[in-house]
Amino acid sequence: MQWYSPNYLAVICLATTAPLGQVFAKHYLSVDEVKQVMFSGEVFTKIDIEVPELIKEKMSKESGVRHSYQQKHIWKSGQGSWLLIDEVVGKHEMITYAVGINNKGKIQGVEILEYNESYGDQIREKKWLEQFKGKGATEQLRFNQEIKNITGATLSSKHVTNGVQRLMVLYREYLSRI
């Protein structure tokens, strides 16, 4: 184990400072990749259907997801598996995720495709910049461009759990019957 810290003291103080807008995105899998990860070897066809309003209402009611369902991606394989891609919106984040349903109607897997976080005015500018002092712009650039290794906040995955629930309502009430 090796730990290199710019803070020689084990206690780091944060002063209240001015805000700075900050948005970052984490990209994990593409739609093609998620097909391979969940259903290796199966060939999927995009299904263009209009989900009836009645079904959408049921999805919202049963899952508690208020944000409207966009039905961007519904895919079906020759073997009868489904791949549904959806988005959920939280207070500070928008998450694109995929749910795979096998031909027995069971969840094959849930994967996050993208995680977009936006904190608008809540990141503190001065301290934010100060932490990169002596490290040049490289470290800040890396923060802005790379996927971050973040400790501290245990982000809740409840939104996604509710989202999975709404897609399962879509499958049960509509897709499995067409």
Partner: protein, 277 residues
């Protein structure tokens, strides 16, 4: 390869290093390895959940109340977690105690109902057996996530993956010879990301009393002093760097309670405490 799955109540990120020399077959194989990593971590969740009434832990809690002195067998992983938990319990003088789950904020009504003993009252016997001497309420919430990360890392090592990382909602571990920048998210509501340092071949975990409560709803911190039952309520963040994620995870609780970066147990475990205020 980077993936993320909702699991353990949070998002579990997995990174396996790939470069321009990694061929498509290896990339596909890495995804298969990733699936195994997630399966193993899910197994930890199933075994050690306190909320699932059919889990091994829930059964054990019931048995300890119904039949004190009973000997029962555990899954080897649960047994290993008990061994680690007892070691940290002893070294920290009882500051880390995952046997007092009755003090959890959602369970305050039970606080005085049972005079339950802590994890130290359980005897660890041979062949993954334990003796429950007194009524306990084991809650592995403060240790299982770190252990799950370590199990996932074991899978990666078994497949001879060189450079990789698993981050289970802030409890993370890195293997290999690459240094990775670690940032601390200072508040759930996005106040700041703090550059903490670079980590190579080790783990870091963080406990913060800020994230566990919701002031608007009058909620309480999820960190409880094991000896007094009081909630730890302050606006600090407690991180520990250690060689394994399970130890880092446990020691953040002792650090949050005692707030002593010079406590001898950090040296015992070769760990580094960090408080952000």
């Amino acid at each position: 390869m980077r993936r993320s799955r909702p699991m353990l109540g949070t998002f579990v990120e997995l990174w396996i290093e790939e470069d321009r020399y990694t061929n498509p077959e290896q990339m596909a194989f890495n995804h298969e390895i990733g699936n195994v990593v997630y399966q193993q971590m899910e197994k930890v969740q199933t075994l050690m959940s306190s909320h699932d009434t059919s889990s091994e832990i829930a059964q054990l809690n019931r048995l300890s109340k119904a039949t004190p002195g009973i000997v029962c067998s555990l899954h080897p992983w649960t047994y290993e977690v008990f061994m680690i938990a007892q070691k940290v319990f002893k070294e920290t003088g009882g500051l880390f105690d995952c046997g007092i789950g009755q003090y959890s904020p959602s369970n305050t009504r039970l606080m005085n109902q049972y005079q339950e003993a802590g994890i130290g009252s359980i005897d660890l016997l041979e062949n993954y057996h334990i003796r429950l001497n007194q009524p306990v309420h084991v809650d592995l919430g403060g240790i299982a996530k770190g252990y799950a990360v370590d199990r996932g890392i074991e899978v990666l090592k078994n497949f001879e993956i060189k450079n990789a990382l698993i981050n289970a909602g802030g409890d993370l571990r890195i293997i290999g010879d690459v240094e990775q920048s670690i940032y601390l998210k200072e508040s759930l509501h996005g106040d700041a990301y703090i550059y903490m340092g670079k980590l190579k071949d080790g783990a870091v975990a963080t406990s913060s009393t800020r994230f566990g409560r919701d002031n608007k709803k009058g909620g309480m911190s999820y960190l409880i002093h094991p000896k007094t039952g009081e909630c730890i309520e302050d606006d600090l963040s407690y991180s520990v760097v250690a060689s394994t994620c399970v130890v880092a995870d446990c020691l953040t609780k002792a650090l949050a309670i005692e707030k002593n970066i010079h406590a001898p147990y950090f040296e015992t475990f070769g760990a580094i405490p960090i408080i952000v205020e």
